[in-house]
Amino acid sequence: MERGASRLLEAVASATASALEEAETTLPADVLGAIEGALERERNPIARTQIENILENVRYAGEHALPICQDTGVPVVYLTLPPTVPFTPELREAVAEGVRRATVAVPLRPNVVDPLTRQNTGDNTGGGMPAVHVTPGDDLTITVLPKGAGAENCSRIAMLLPSQVGSVARFATETVLLAGGKPCPPVVLGIGIGSTFDGAAARAKEALLLSIDTMTPYEQEICDAVNALCIGPMGLGGDVTALAVKVRQGHCHTASLPVAVNVQCWAHRRATRRVAV
């Protein structure tokens, strides 16, 4: 029994490291497809050079197993756990061990610091890092979403009034307007609508886990509004400012309308591993 438990923890650490390595050096097919689609419809010549650089960079990074971006981000990890696997401190530590291994193996830039002293922990783990989110599921799966700071820093949350339901698109578009070229557009927006102050932010990031192959009419409407700004790739002007907008919502207090916009750069990195239990 004890041996089985330690085998599972080792499998979790190994799968976390492996998922991070994939996420840092390759792009998911839906994201790569969206960038290729952006090159097809972009008409601005400077913007086209930026998208061509991005595609060449992704190709080169993949061929040489190098990080796509030097901001290898901070690790955000989503676990689904079956009823037979409890979320224990040991399981959490196994995920952190996977992060430490990937930091050396890929290698990743050590990005995690104390918020006030700015002292670097050196291994991308620390208090609350990696951020681990757990939901019940049929299988044990580990999804990593390394999050860079350029885009994360441009994210915003608002407590709108219930009468401002029509203003969600305005708030999201304004977020991109204020961000300009800083978050490395073309961006993907994860929008969380409803729940509570903290719940909206969590949903905004969870929305980034959804495939960007398709958009609902509501997501498309917000995406069109963002693209009409013509900020373009890297803020140098152009037709494609957003690759996609994804929305995740939750119910909320009758007096509330929390809205969070989590900005994600074009290097929308994520990877999933399933661990046999």
Binding site: I68, C69, D71, R109, G150, A225, C230, L236
Partner: protein, 180 residues
């Protein structure tokens, strides 16, 4: 395509926002912490004609593994002393503020490299040396030799600012859609 080589001289004055250039020669990486240290202790390299790259690279085994640009706007209030000392080019992503645009006037340019293109950049770089290594990998000043890094002139020496122009247009588009 215009080819530039460090140390940079008056040739940068004739560049215009939107021009495509390549840069070869030496660049020095610097982020927030390095700027603060240089303001206090002095610039550890010869700033005349130099190019400063806003970048926190991944370095391993004495080579540049990944080195795309970081957000330049964080250095908006930290760049004046570099330009005063003769630095001719700031390189980064996302553009910089009005104070930097004024600081570059008649002296230098801001060059934009495609954010996130860290592997592509590293393929055109050779690591030469380092200052302030105690600041850590991301914040140290790395001396890097470039081989034709492709860049766009974002801000020129005549007040031309592509990012500001795009931002102003975006603001107009936003007002038209949401404030009518």
């Amino acid at each position: 395509m215009i080819h530039l080589t460090t140390p940079l001289g008056d040739e940068v004055l004739s560049l215009r926002a939107g021009d495509a250039v390549t840069l070869s020669g030496t660049v020095y990486t610097a982020r927030d912490e390095a700027h603060l240290r240089m303001m206090e202790d002095g610039i550890p390299f010869d700033p005349r004609g130099a190019a400063v790259y806003h970048c926190g690279p991944v370095i391993a085994d004495g080579r540049v593994v990944a080195a795309g640009p970081t957000t330049s706007a964080r250095m908006n209030d930290l760049s004046g002393f570099l330009l005063d000392a003769g630095v001719r080019a700031l390189i980064g992503k996302g553009g910089m503020g009005p104070a930097v645009r004024e600081g570059l006037s008649g002296r230098g340019v801001y060059l934009a490299f495609t954010g996130g293109c860290a592997a592509l950049a590293a393929a055109r770089m050779r690591l030469v040396g380092v200052y302030y290594e105690d600041l850590g990998m991301a914040e140290a000043v790395w001396q890097i030799e470039l081989d034709h890094l492709p860049l766009i002139v974002g801000i020129d020496a005549c007040g031309g600012d592509l990012f500001a122009d795009v931002g102003q247009e975006a603001k107009i588009h936003f007002e038209q859609r949401f404030n009518t």
